[in-house]
């Protein structure tokens, strides 16, 4: 009996042929690995953007999120680069610039060459914040203080080799000043707490979290580290507008990728479906409610963005 089934399966496989693998893909639920803990911003957004995956006009199969947190994302991405199945049923969320910065710094098993991007769903720029009663009202005030007091301007951010750290390095480099970057353990919220409580003079944080804190009246946002102003904060100027040559290298881009070696026709199919899936009005509605800025990019655009980031970060992290 068993033999009969095997024979049947083999003949069926031969019949349909490899060319149509992508045609039947996916025929079972797909898994997506998030390298941060359940409930964090990346996890939270990943769950929202994949909630319509089961619809017929999307994958037709649900996407299940699994979390492999640890070491600022390194644990999950290490696993994804070395152990994940390359059959299209194992996707992962990426965070740029985090994983690229970590791979440049070394000590991990992945680099941009280990993964194939599929599509980008969100972009959360870094912003410079100060407490609500701070004397600083613009980046010029901050730079002026830092020039007069080298190494004395304390400012917090979530750890090393993450978007916040990159923005911090870029600001210091652009202004030609030395400031005291204080990495916190416990992510962006611990860094935010230290600014609100006045433990530090300023900080770099996510636009989405800073936007909420500013709405609540506990901080002021002085500048956005992006190429353009953000729709959530139309009144806050970019760093460039304030004379600091800081581009969008620190923007936290989030999207979907697969391990290198996944069949090309599956990559192509996902690359067509995913951006459309992110555009679903239910997804857009929930993301807006949660204050999470969306930024949809196709596979080609993401490939170009990764390459650009790799070059900028290699330059910035040289000698660190």
């Amino acid at each position: 009996m068993k033999k009969l089934f095997t024979a049947l399966a083999v003949s069926l496989a031969g019949f349909t042929g490899t060319a149509t693998i992508a045609g039947s893909y996916p025929d079972r639920p797909v898994m997506m690995m998030v390298s941060y803990g359940a409930g964090g911003a990346t996890d939270f957004q990943a769950r929202i953007v994949t909630m319509t995956a089961g619809n017929d006009d999307a994958l037709g199969m649900p996407i299940a999120i699994i979390n492999k947190p640890g070491a600022g994302g390194r644990v999950g991405w290490n696993w994804f680069a070395t152990e994940a199945d390359k059959d299209g049923y194992t996707l992962a969320a990426y965070n740029i610039p985090h994983f690229i910065a970590q791979s440049i710094k070394g000590g991990v098993d992945f680099s941009t060459d280990s993964f194939e991007p599929i599509a980008n769903w969100g972009a959360d720029p870094a912003v410079f914040i100060v407490g609500k009663d701070s004397a600083f009202n613009s980046m010029a005030d901050v730079v002026a203080f830092a020039k007069e007091n080298p190494g004395k301007l304390t400012f917090s951010g979530a750890g090393l080799f993450v978007g916040h750290h990159i923005a911090a390095l870029q600001i210091e480099k652009a202004a030609g000043v030395k400031m005291a970057y204080i990495p916190t353990k416990g992510g962006g919220s611990a860094a935010m707490k230290s600014v609100i409580a006045g433990d530090v003079l300023g900080g770099v944080n996510n636009l989405s979290d800073a936007y909420r804190a500013a709405q609540a009246g506990s901080i002021k946002i002085l500048g956005v580290a992006d190429l353009e102003r953000n729709v959530f904060l139309p009144d806050v100027p970019t760093m460039m507008e304030q004379g600091l040559d800081v581009d969008n290298a620190s923007v936290n881009f989030r999207g979907v990728m697969v391990p290198k070696g996944t069949p090309q026709n599956i990559i192509d199919k996902l690359a067509i479906i995913m951006p459309e899936m992110f555009k679903h009005k239910k997804v857009a509605g929930k993301m807006k409610q949660g204050g999470s800025p969306m930024y949809i990019m196709t596979r080609d655009e993401v490939i170009a963005m990764w390459a650009a980031r790799q070059a900028t970060l290699e330059e910035l992290l040289k000698g660190l």
Partner: protein
């Protein structure tokens, strides 16, 4: 007293159904090793997508309060703390269960959880603005001293000597340094890929507590399985209430310490139970009975870990800063419904926030009722033959440590630590101080490193760590705590 007007929303049929479902589900999840309150809330958030904001939050509030209390079930009956919050409950709770008083221990734990929990939520309702400022007052130096205060507790915890207790604590603190360090950007002690993310507290907890027991049970099981069968005593609920209110000191200490520690962002409920247990012991005239199945131990620990629930939400709701991992997950739950926490939260969304808080009050009562209901037959777990028990606990340990982050690496960590603990226990070391070291190590280290960085940009570490009222007050308490332990050690030697 605005919140009273919003009780109506909690008593609609759908809300009550969610509340009851959330409470029962929470108790079961909480009782399962590895499924911590944080996990339970995170797992429920996708379900709230389909609910209205009020209903979604009622479900999350009920689940949060009841998972914290549910952790006591496995702590008492199996000596596996469901979450770090329940470590202290194992100390006397499990000793009671071994004496056949499991039902009593469970009843005491649910009643003191109810009392502590309600007190905590009332603090949240009436004192939020004051407490928010208080929570912010704790900067890196203060958290560092607070962690050191925790370290002084280690020595007196469940070991037969202070030195062995401190040594266990040191092993725990060393284990905590394993992994990638976010603040220095280096790898430490990562000699196996399973250790890249460091030692996760939940698998460690399960391994350290469960595995030595399993080994012991397998070793002995063949010989004394039926002879040592425990007689499970029935315990009237009324007597349990009387017992809790007779132990006013333990209940008060637990509730107050839990509320204060719950409030401080970054420390959270992990150590509330242990610190309360230690203080209740120091202030009790029946010190020697602690650890042998004394009701005060259970009452103080469980009152503390539920009292911390309400205050732990203060920084989240008023400042949008999640003070604990569970609060961080709840923040996601609020955001998904378009609710942005902040000082004007109570003005902008009273129709959502108040029912959420009220549901935690009602949830406490439901949790106590269902908890007591299951107590009488759950206590029969003690009668299960050792061989069956050992296999079950081993299964739960494997499941629980894998479930935390779906990682086989965590299972290895659990097994290795568990095997190590079996031998350490034979030499008189115990798991509780080791776990406390594992929890406190990172708090002490990260706040010291961060504080030093800030201090070096300002007036130097001496001024930063040793000046200011709060610093001096904390240092004084540390000195008192060490002094007291040393004094009692010396005097007790004289007697012997």
């Amino acid at each position: 007293m605005e919140f009273i007007y919003y009780f109506g929303e909690v008593f609609t049929p759908i809300s009550m159904l969610l509340l009851i479902g959330g409470t029962i589900g929470g108790l079961i999840l909480g009782a399962t090793p590895g499924l911590s309150p944080t996990m339970a809330v995170a797992l429920l958030i996708p379900f709230t997508f389909q609910l209205t904001p009020v209903h979604g939050l009622i479900l999350l509030g009920a689940a949060y309060t009841s998972t914290v209390a549910g952790g006591a079930v496995s702590a008492i009956l199996l000596k596996i703390p469901g979450a770090p919050a329940n470590i202290a409950t194992t100390l006397d709770g499990h000793a009671m269960a071994l004496k056949g008083e499991g039902a009593k221990a469970l009843q005491l734990s649910f009643i003191s959880s109810l009392f502590g929990g309600i007190f905590g939520v009332l603090l949240l309702i009436f004192l939020t603005p004051v407490l928010a400022e208080w929570a912010l007052a704790f900067g890196p130096p203060h958290l560092f001293w607070l962690a050191i205060l925790g370290v002084t507790v280690i020595g007196s915890l469940e070991s037969n000597s202070v030195v062995k207790g401190l040594l266990s604590g040191c092993i725990g603190m060393w284990l905590a340094t394993i992994g990638f360090d976010d603040m220095l950007g280096v790898k430490r002690f990562v000699f196996h890929s399973s250790l890249g993310g460091g030692v996760n507290i939940i698998p460690a907890l399960i391994g350290l507590f469960a595995i030595p027991q399993v080994i012991t049970m397998f070793a002995k099981g063949r010989f004394d399985q039926d002879t040592s069968r425990i007689e499970v005593k029935k315990h009237p609920v009324g007597a349990a209430f009387k017992e809790v209110f007779k132990r006013k000191r333990a209940l008060g200490i637990g509730t107050i310490i839990g509320s204060i520690i719950g409030l401080i962002p970054g420390v959270g409920g992990q150590i509330a139970g242990l610190v309360a247990y230690d203080q209740a012991k120091k202030f009790s005239p029946e010190k020697a009975k602690f650890g042998t199945g004394h009701s005060e131990g259970v009452i103080a620990a469980e009152a503390a870990n539920n009292a911390m629930v309400g205050p732990s939400l203060v920084p989240l709701l008023t400042l949008s800063i999640p003070g604990s991992p569970t609060a961080a997950v709840l923040l996601g739950g609020l955001l998904i419904h378009g609710i942005f926490p902040g000082v004007d939260l109570f003005q902008n969304y009273p129709e959502v926030v108040w029912p959420f808080i009220n549901s935690m009050l009602i949830g406490q009562v439901l949790m106590c009722i269902f908890g007591i209901y299951i107590a009488s037959f759950a206590a029969r777990v003690a009668q299960v033959p050792k061989s069956v028990m050992a296999a079950t606990v081993l299964g739960l340990a494997l499941f629980g440590s894998y479930a935390v982050q779906q990682s086989m690496g965590d299972v290895y960590v659990m097994a290795v630590l568990g095997g190590m603990m079996y031998f350490l226990e034979r030499f008189g070391f115990s798991a509780a101080p080791l776990v406390l070291g594992l929890i406190l190590g990172p708090i002490a280290e990260s706040n010291f490193v961060q504080g030093s960085m800030i201090a070096n940009a300002q007036d130097g570490p001496m001024i930063y760590f040793f000046s200011g009222t709060l610093n001096i007050a904390l240092i004084a308490v540390v000195v008192l705590s060490v002094g007291y332990s040393a004094w009692s050690e010396i005097t007790s030697r004289k007697v012997v």
